[in-house]
Symmetry: C2
Subunit: 748 residues, 2 copies
């Protein structure tokens, strides 16, 4: 079954907490099975509880007698650092080898190495003196010894498209058959997981393998996608796998998440060769470090280690982390350039791309397409390959074309497709804009297909095309009117360069990324770690600033938030929520809509029956109307297992969760007081709704009980808050419902 | 009175919240005066309340009829951006002109411009062809036409030292006489203010002026101090001054703080020419943006705008933001270099500097020195100037010598004091280490004198000396044994460079900064925005990593936290607090130690008497033992003003803060229910202490009430939490007590 369908079906329009608790097949987990882990996929972890468990554990370690009390915590801490460092090293090496794989597969589309099938073009020709023609690398037409020029072109084109289809198709097949969760970017899911959502199958070793291989195939197929987001997913899978060997992570969901956050940062670090950008991405986009300074610190270490490992493997022998080195740009920029730059920033294409992507996703879900995911991938890859072969600026892999677009013209270097030819300006501008438009369409369609796909690189490519076009136009204007007052600040000699169109491409890419992801500071850091354009940080900041302002005016959510909303994960966006004067009363489920357990009124059998009847994740315990505490479903289940058969069948013996102030004699009650959570968070329902939302966001709560003078008045769960914060988005939960393919089924 | 004494005297060993509430002279604010602002210096703001007020205001604006309801919020928002942008521009321009002033004053110590007194050396000689000698700039010995070489040296040295004393002395006099809060770096206070501490006189226009001028004088005097921290203070003063013109900031302390956070980022941005570093400094060190994403966004804008303004004014005509450009360093680094680098990182000098600085501060406070702050400054500046004139590497201004130490050797450029001379290696290493040791001593003494002083630049200078020394030693080793196995990875020809000692200086500076400030990611960003060494980000990260690890092992607090603790500001460090199994009960003041108001038992007169008797900032209201709510001192005062004279004197009429479930007939009660805060945060005392601390840290609370089944059991205030988190530091509040100069007074 394709992943788009088999993701947890947790989203009806109004979702209650208990719905997150359903197992995959919709049944409740059976009560008698001993569940090895406390949470099942689809639930949300209880941070407070996890932290409490961790505290207990550390406390137990420290209170050991003598040297053990000193050594054990030290061992714990070094184990933690060991895992962080190992994860960093693993991710760095994996990233490097994925690069190698992609390069080889990509080159395979054009030819093969005569003396070894598994060499890529650069490795194959590595022994050649510069300037000599490489004879060891044979294009396919050379391999098949085709003489006619037309035949050569036809064969090359045919193999180019065919291999694209084969790569993309096999990636899709792998994903569909073995690891449905390996499709898409993975970042929305990682965000949800780091926020407390439990989704272990998303991080399984199988997913790791398929996502890695599928990613290499997908990137090599030339589809309009990048490897950045999926690499974050791969990194998290690796860390998750590692964590299984260490009890301190395996048995504590909160600790596991802190490790995953560090791994995610390392993933970005490897994807962009940007160790600082990785940390900041975790900080800003994954929003995990705000709560814990030590998480940021671990991410910092993991990120640095991963980048060192990547550099150490050094897949292409350049030993450089900077992917798209910008050089030869003019160091000084002039005030008039702010006009084209702001123009780039104001571009609303980021929002358009998001909107198109949403529409495509909805269409895919609600049409025949949902039954033919692999066919869809094959068709799109065929179309992409055909178009790419025709339109010059998109024939090369995204990475190469971006690097070329970022490059300034330099008479000593070969010209990239005549970009530096001043007489061909209008053709170039037309081609660049055409490429950008085509890429927007392809990207909007590709991002969401049954294939691992990141959105970063295509977005950069689109932005770079547009930016270069604007740069060429500005340059053309300057060449036409070098004496105009607006160009007065340029050097008087028009043969000197005044405008650097390559840098405009960088700005276009930044602005486009800003519009799509709505990141700010991490985006700027990533861009200049990518390009090395440190001295140009200010224009980049200005562009990101404007693009975010304009984008936010068209819709507050970045592409990842939109996907989270569509898949309806229980994730609290870190937005600055402002109520309009509502209080907690507005968002709480009031007492009459809650199922509460009246203490010392239920026999064990009745308690069991209640557990069977209601699927809620937990129940408030009251005595008369006074709140006594809260007990989770799991705790009740555990408690009932300890009840003796005799007590169980005695209808007169009542379950007592709090023995304090008990009204019953000891003989007629079953003492379950050990299972009560007394330390529940209580608020008055008069508190501003804003504060309630704030507490959920900052304290990672799962529920808040409302009381007045000790009496329970209502309850709010994380799910309520998620629904509240997502209420402005029209397509919430659109992808978590069943696809509407009944039409087709009737027809067939 | 020197500032060290006149800072709010809020720190006895056990401080209660009410002590923060005292006015400067120790009396309670008089009850009948209409206070124009709600908080007085020394109190902590109530974030929840401020946010509630802001919410009300925005709501009122939005609910205006018709176009006003749309336009007014827009106007509000544009006003906010106007202030942010104006603050950014102002800070950028101020920073630029401070640079100019410092340069001129600094050059004045060596000579003057013959055709205009107010030109600095570079400006004076600007018309000269390169290579020609500048005749317009006259050294003092030239001005006074002294012929003998000895006389020349003597006069130069004399004027050099004399002007240092004059500059430093006048800065100290200015600070002592007009703005005692303008001394020191200001960052500890800014941290406290951003955390909610009210300290308006710290941000007055007078402080702004004196700090700006005093800073220029202090830097020009050649004392071992930097301008970075004070610039943050100046930036905050400017934003504070601007905020007074806008009601939305002036009347809301929370909004004001968000603006100050943006200004602080802009201050760092200007100080280092590092717009990203500014934002990250705010994020990591000031810890303000974690709570609010829009604060980070504003800081980003302010920071960028400030850097643009600085670049636009372009004080030195270089149009570059990068202060200490590193170039000519070798791009590739080798694995064996990790050994010296880790050695730099492991250096414990950061912690030593902090410890020495604390000891000096304690000694200064508890000795005669506390009476002679200006004399102390004069003496230290004389000593500093004399030593600097003797020891070659410290004669130049900190900035220049750092730039030279970061520079690689380049045969085409002039050699800086023979650093590149391979035969003088041992002398150089000796001199560098000597300089570092002297600088550590001077810096530890200077940081805390009655003069504006930042710690960043001297720390960089110390680290750069040490790093360069290590670099020279490594290089020497390589030159001596080029064939050793450890150097196998170097190019086979020993005349080629393998080791870049300049880059070692950068690493030393990073490690030293890491040890002193304990910053991580923001430090790395600042360092490479300072040096432009983007391709070397990994070694920098590694050095910062090790230095933080080692430093944390020797004491968790950075220098700013230490100063906050010594001055005992109510600031909650964002540490990851772990309890040892304690619960809230451990940290709360229990009911019998609280002053509570029993509802409907006090007449107005009795209430007034209670207000006179107890200085607490607020009182819980109970009925029997049930908690009804909380009321602050200010609210009671307001409430009592509305009571009619008749009611006031009627002893039978009781004050009623909650009319619900009232037991009294309406005629015999005074309805004060409008003044009650019902929405107080309540917890059970069984919650883990960790959670209590966490809530204070993340929700910016001022107090938490503990209840059980509606009954009040205790209360915890921010002050309790501050004391708890600072309890490990031995000198807490050491500087907020009265200085012990009684000894001296007896003697005289």
């Amino acid at each position: 079954m394709p992943s788009a369908k088999s993701a947890p079906r947790n989203g009806q329009a109004h979702v209650d907490e208990e719905l997150y608790e359903l197992t995959e097949d919709g049944r409740l987990p059976s009560d008698n099975s001993k569940v090895p882990r406390k949470y099942h996929d689809g639930s949300s972890i209880d941070w407070l509880h996890e932290e409490a468990v961790e505290r207990e554990r550390i406390h137990a370690l420290r209170s050991q007698a003598g040297a053990r009390g000193l050594l054990l915590p030290l061992l714990e801490s070094s184990r933690m650092w060991f895992v962080v460092i190992m994860a960093g090293v693993g991710i760095g090496i994996t990233g490097a080898w994925l690069d190698v794989l992609v390069k080889w597969l990509g080159d395979l589309r054009e030819g093969r190495c005569s003396y070894g099938f598994f060499y890529n073009q650069v490795a194959c020709c590595s022994g050649i003196d510069p300037g000599d023609k490489c004879l060891d690398w044979l294009t396919w037409s050379e391999t098949f010894n085709i003489q006619s020029l037309f035949g050569q072109s036809l064969l090359q084109c045919f193999i180019y498209v065919l291999l694209a289809i084969v790569f993309a198709g096999s990636a899709a097949l792998l994903v569909e058959s073995y690891a449905p969760y390996a499709f898409h970017t993975g970042i929305p899911e990682i965000k949800a997981i780091l926020g407390g959502y439990v989704f272990d199958s998303f991080l399984s070793p199988w997913t790791l393998l398929i996502k890695g291989v599928g990613l290499a195939l997908a990137v090599a197929s030339g589809l309009s996608l990048g490897k950045e987001g999926p690499l974050v997913h791969v990194a998290c899978c690796m860390a998750f796998g590692l964590s299984r060997f260490f009890k301190q992570f395996h048995h504590n969901e909160a600790q596991k998440r802190k490790l995953l956050a560090a791994a995610a940062a390392a993933g970005v670090s490897v994807a962009f060769g940007s160790p600082l950008g990785g940390v900041l991405f975790g900080l800003e986009e994954l929003d995990t470090f705000a709560s814990e300074t030590d998480v940021m610190w671990r991410a910092f270490v993991a990120s640095a280690i991963a980048a060192v490992s990547l550099q150490w493997v050094n897949p292409f022998g350049t030993a450089k982390l900077v992917l798209f080195q910008v050089n030869n740009a003019i160091d000084v920029w002039r005030a008039f350039e702010l006009i084209p730059w702001l123009g780039l920033g104001v571009g609303v294409l980021g929002s358009v791309l998001i909107k198109m992507n949403v529409e495509v996703a909805l269409y895919r879900r609600n049409s025949y397409l949902s039954n033919w995911p692999v066919l869809e991938v094959v068709c799109v890859s065929a179309i992409t390959a055909a178009i790419s072969y025709l339109v010059v600026f998109s024939r090369q892999a995204n990475g190469t074309s971006i690097a070329n677009l970022f490059q300034e013209c330099d008479p000593t270097k070969p010209d990239y497709h005549g970009l530096c030819n001043p007489t061909a300006m209008w053709e170039n501008v037309f081609l660049l804009i055409l490429t950008a438009i085509i890429k927007i369409g392809l990207t909007a369609w590709t991002f969401g297909m049954m294939i691992p796909a990141g959105i970063f690189l295509p977005t950069i490519a689109i932005g770079a095309c547009l930016g270069r076009a604007v740069g060429l136009l500005t340059q053309g204007l300057y060449r036409a009117y070098p004496k105009a007052w607006i160009f007065l600040s340029c050097p008087p000699d028009p043969s000197e360069r005044c405008i650097s169109p390559g840098f405009y491409a960088v700005l276009g890419a930044s602005a486009m990324l800003g519009g799509v992801t709505r990141m700010t500071i991490s985006l700027v850091v990533i861009v200049f770690e990518l390009t090395g354009a440190l001295s140009h940080v200010l224009p980049i900041m200005i562009c990101v600033m404007t693009s975010k302002w304009v984008g936010d005016a068209m819709g507050k959510d970045g592409i990842y938030s939109v996907w989270i909303a569509m898949r309806h994960y229980p994730w609290l966006p870190p937005v600055d929520y402002r109520d309009k004067g509502e209080t907690g009363a507005n968002i709480m489920k009031s007492l009459d809509r809650l199922v509460v357990i009246k203490d010392e009124t239920l026999s064990a059998k009745e308690l069991q029956a209640l557990l069977q009847k209601y699927t809620y994740n937990g129940f408030p315990i009251v005595r008369q109307t006074q709140l006594v505490g809260f007990v989770t479903r799991d705790k009740i289940r555990d408690a009932l297992e300890t009840v003796s058969a005799e007590d169980y069948s005695d209808r007169m013996k009542k379950c007592s969760f709090s023995t304090r102030d008990s009204l019953l004699p000891e003989t007629s009650r079953i003492d379950l007081s050990g299972y009560l959570e007394e330390a529940v968070l209580q608020l008055r329902k008069e508190v501003p709704q804003e504060l309630v939302v704030n507490m959920f966001q900052k304290l990672n709560l799962r529920r808040i009980l409302f009381t007045h003078a000790g009496e329970l008045t209502g309850m709010t769960t994380k799910t309520d808050i998620v629904s509240l914060l997502m209420s402005h988005f029209p397509h919430t939960a659109a992808l978590s419902q069943q696809p509407m393919y009944s039409m087709w089924q009737r027809a067939s």
